[in-house]
Amino acid sequence: MLSDRPAAPIQRVRGTNDILPPADARFRGLEAGLRATFEQFGYQGIQTPILEPLELFLRKSGDEIVARMYSFAHWNRRLCLRPELTASVMRAFVDDLQGHGLPLRLHYAGPSFRYERPSRGRSRQFTQVGIELIGGAGPAADAEVLHLACAGLESVGIKRYRLVIGHLGAALQLLSQLGMSDHAQGLVLDQMEPIARGRVDPEAAVARVVDLLGGGTGSANGRAPEAMPSALASLPPEQATAIATDLLRRASLPIEGGAREPRQIIQRLLSKAQRPDPTDQVRAAFEFVAQLHSAAGSPDRLEGELRPLLEARGLRTDSIEEVSAALDYLRAYGPLADDVEVEVDLSLARGLRYYTGLVFEIYVDSDEGPLQLCGGGRYDDLARGLGAREDVSACGFSYGLERVDLALGPGVATQSRRVLVVGVAADDHPTALGVARELRSLTELSVEQDVRLRGVKSALRYADRAKIDLVVIVGERERADDTAVVRNMHTRDETRVGRAQLLNAVRGAFA
């Protein structure tokens, strides 16, 4: 039963927004503009579910993003709201599109969700608009994606921005050269971005990663039976395991681990004790990241600074060549706008772990510092990781639609042309409906019908408040002599016109 007391209002969820008019029209216009650019290049639209299995993002996206997901169990199925669309699009590709000829060009737009501290330009629900170029390998494909990212922004009127291009090849190579495990590599990659942006002190990042890896002198990781495992290290693994198991049994330490086999436990114990302290490795990795970052700058630094840096470390230089080639192709698409700044930074990491090659981000300056509008790159392992039959090269990017809107500012509200048709009394309503129908079918105007039937005065009051441009009034008299009154709400002029001239009169008012 309803009581007289008004029910408490329901608050929207923190970090989400209602997109009200006229912002909604603006957003849809922006999305349409971006998609139109993509379609000019042969991209086709795809839609994927907002709800995905949690597993999709556990596989390859990395801890940083998984920790910020909205995930939950529903009837024992572990689900999440997608934090981004690339993994979803690739899942759809693996599901249904593998037989199609490559390359496959797809564009998409839709809400994504991340549980982060809301701030300017960062909501927990946001709209990603982007593309994926599946089956495109090498700099030619990278350049198409880069060009589209720029062309999209320029098509909606953003012509002053900074394009930062990186490549994960160098860092990934160094990490495997250092002999780091996948787990350790992932942790280092997660910290690369905050370090390069100066958000995290490098020593603090080293300490954190070492702590997460369970090494280092400062760590509380007790290495109790250390002497024993190092002595066992020289023996063949089988024998070492047998001896260790026996010793621990004699010391009445029960090696039973529920689901874990005693063998596994002992083997891990032995391998852990033989592992070197990761501190030096991690520090070396971050030092390299810092060097890469300080060598960042205009594209000529690729040859001048970055190539010698990689060569000094004995690293391959394919990343330099790929970025150079992509930049050459990008320029061949046509000149970039005058106010576009291009920067290369091989320490750029994107906070998503599936990237493997060229990566990039686009920023605009704002009063409150740089605003990232776009990010993307190459992810050649993702399809395989999600179950594709073979390796599929792919790259893509997405814009944050709300941020693109923020960068454009409120701008000029698009002039929608609005007409209200009013019947003077209830008897006049059917005639008024006919007038409205006629106007809708013959013009592009937005034609509203008065449905409250409270008379002309009330309708005009509404028209004023709702910023209606033109009101067409039909009463008993107008029905009798087949006319209508057209009232211009801006000039307050009223004219009586014959029904046959109504269309011209309305069009004339907007001319």
Partner: protein, 351 residues
């Protein structure tokens, strides 16, 4: 006049809570021990209404506004918080029911000594097609903790009954549960691991934001409650020492005592003239000073060196400062903006 409504926990919590309130000078009168309502005396604003509830229900009762304040475990508050709740942590450290939420693993996992090992074990299990199963009644805190340690491959298991038994029963691999002494964990052949402490908890006082804002009388009653709790908690482990010291003047006595060190008290000693029974001994002074319990004997020794004879010491019951800091903080919280969940859950954690 609307009475302040305070929820306190029944079952295992009741004795500790009533003792604490009693020590603060607040007496809970229950006509019948089986009743779940009672009245609490000792506040200048008049009697408050007390409701007995389960510790885990108190959060919801305060959040829903059926009571204004509640005393429950910080662990429960941290687990049940949401960004849009009406809960304020009015006092986070009431000093009793201390315990820790910890991750514990089977003793037999000799290779696991720290949380960092768990990430590897999780990866190892996943490679074998299984997830690391964590039994807990604290899914939110556990998930946040493991995520923060770079772990994403795990599954939280709801267990009815004793959490500590889950690994032995093989319904889970490890647990995340409350412990105070660690005895129960050891009895179940579980061990703590380095870096495995998720949250330090103790009893805390929570309040309903909207309720306290809407009713100045209840807010004033809360003020009185906080004055008493804060002054009692501050007074704990404080001793008031009175010593008789001979000297030429009060100033000289004070100088001598301060020069000896160790007995400065909260602000400085109070020295007053003693009027002796025997008129010939008119150079005696009484010195009063408040010191920490842990330095009682050194303080006595220092006074002796300054010439003190009889020294008496009493437990201090309350120490009031010039205002109640927790009440000031409450007013700021009431009029401030709502914080995010991340700030909320860490605001009072004393790690």
């Amino acid at each position: 006049m609307s009475a302040l409504r305070l929820a306190i926990a029944s079952k295992g919590w009741e004795d500790d809570t009533l003792r604490f309130l009693g020590q603060c000078g607040l007496r809970v009168d229950r006509s019948n021990p089986r009743q779940y309502r009672a009245s609490m005396r000792g506040l200048p604003t008049g009697p408050a209404e007390v409701v007995f509830q389960r510790a885990t229900d108190i959060f919801e009762e305060v959040n829903g506004g059926s009571v204004d304040l509640g005393i429950t475990g910080y662990d429960i508050v941290a687990e049940h918080r949401s960004e849009e709740d009406e809960i304020l942590v009015v006092h986070g450290e009431l000093g009793f029911r201390r315990c820790s939420l910890v991750v514990a693993v089977p003793e037999g996992w000799v290779d696991v000594t720290a949380v960092s090992d768990l990430a590897e074990v999780a990866v190892e299990l996943r490679a074998a097609g299984r997830e690391l199963r964590v039994a807990t009644k604290y899914p939110n805190l556990t998930r946040q903790f493991l995520y923060g340690r770079g772990m994403t491959y795990f599954e939280l298991v709801e267990v009815s009954g004793a959490i500590e038994a889950a690994p032995a029963l093989e319904t889970a691999d490890i647990i995340c549960d409350l412990t105070s002494s660690g005895v129960t964990l050891r009895e179940n052949r579980l061990k703590l691991i380095a870096g495995g402490s998720v949250l330090e908890s103790q009893a805390c006082l929570i309040g309903n934001r909207r309720g306290l804002l809407a009713d100045p009388e209840r807010l004033e009653a809360t003020h009185g409650l906080l004055e008493l709790m804060e002054a009692f908690l501050r007074a704990r482990q404080q001793m008031s020492i009175t010593a008789n010291i001979r000297g030429e003047s009060a100033e000289a006595v004070a100088r001598r005592v301060l020069a000896n060190g160790g007995v400065a008290g909260l602000r400085g000693p109070t020295v007053a003239r003693v009027f002796p029974k025997d008129a010939t001994e008119d150079d005696w002074f009484a010195l009063t000073v408040v010191v920490g319990e842990d330095v009682l004997l050194p303080a006595v020794e220092s006074l002796r060196r300054a010439g003190a004879s009889e020294v008496s010491a009493t437990q201090v019951r309350y120490v009031f400062e010039h205002r109640s800091w927790t009440f000031e903080a409450l007013k700021r919280q009431l009029h401030g903006s709502a914080d995010g969940i991340l700030e909320k859950t860490t605001a009072w954690s004393s790690s």
